[in-house]
Symmetry: C2
Subunit: 237 residues, 2 copies
Amino acid sequence: MMARTERLQLAGLPVLVQVSEDPKALLLVLHGLKGSKEHILTLLPGYAERGFLLLAFDAPRHGERQGPPPSAKSPRYVEEVYRVALGFKEEALRVAEEAQRRFGLPLFLAGGSLGAFVAHLLLAEGFRPQAVLAFIGSGFPMKLPQGQVVEDPEVLALYEAPPATRGEAYGRVPLLHLHGTKDLLVPLARMEKTLEALSPHYPEGRLARFVEEGAGHTITPLMARVGLAFLEAWLAP
Amino acid sequence: MMARTERLQLAGLPVLVQVSEDPKALLLVLHGLKGSKEHILTLLPGYAERGFLLLAFDAPRHGERQGPPPSAKSPRYVEEVYRVALGFKEEALRVAEEAQRRFGLPLFLAGGSLGAFVAHLLLAEGFRPQAVLAFIGSGFPMKLPQGQVVEDPEVLALYEAPPATRGEAYGRVPLLHLHGTKDLLVPLARMEKTLEALSPHYPEGRLARFVEEGAGHTITPLMARVGLAFLEAWLAP
């Protein structure tokens, strides 16, 4: 039972669909900075075979869309990164809605790095997937490097009220964070701070973390396996 | 494909075997203080169906063996607990050896609470399963409550050189710890200290933890699922 990949158009965007026989649920997958829909799907082997229909599309300024992605050399790098995140979030809402209408299946969500932050944004705004995987990311925006200019009010708002501080809005949606101890881009402490902030708003058994010793800023095969096991716990029996 | 449970005798001990069709590997499961072979097997649903032949037997002074288990009221409670652990460890070695001879399959190991400590003892003594699950336990003996008498030299040795401090002896055997943030019996910090001690002796991707927010001293269904996903990563393809 091999998975096959197809292209389709949802909410006006090109979307990759990876599907096997008889899918039971949708999994919308959001890639990270400098990633692409093609790349993130290669990191989640076995999901389609276990009943998930995977959907991925390129973030603004990424993949086959007009680029380039924000450059760290820009004095507005941080602002540009979070403009991408905010745009990605709006598109994710539209793609998710159209996908659910089209396929009539429950929806799950996964994000890697900046995509994980976007998943937090979605939860903080009341989006309600069945469960969420947040790979190598956090629910706080990155620390502002010196000399960065941030003027955009929507980006400033992310710093004033990061999604992870709005846990009451998450609606107890099951959430698993997956992280490496040697992540130099998103330090483990940022992920742990995220769970600490959310924990008071969650009942037992719906919020968890998987931490892999020695792993860097990368979605490892072990993280992918554990993520799949977590999602399966929230598939209707 | 239902799993069936059978009884057999291994190394002179009654052993419960849970098996489905065509097992690919053995999983020896060590229960905790006041537990039993029957109870621990109920906490690992789905393992047999995914190719593990589960084996469990009662620790000394537990289950159908002559009891009772150590009582917390005894001034030698801690000593008695670790005498049980040391006996359990020796028996586990013999049962594992005989099981591998009988079934000719690779062996995995799982332990809950005191059983997880026994798993650490086994690793520190050079036992080499394919991978290990340590549920709600640690590689350090419990803190000594006031007034406890410990004279047994083997038990004293566990305090002088806890297994987790002998990480070089673990042979990089893949190890996943699973724990709840509200565990009052084995505090999360003890588990984290265990991984901190072992981490220098492990390469990337073989040592990890799963932490469930709000879970107490109990092997939850989510821990069981995640544990199974970890073991599957180390099954020969």
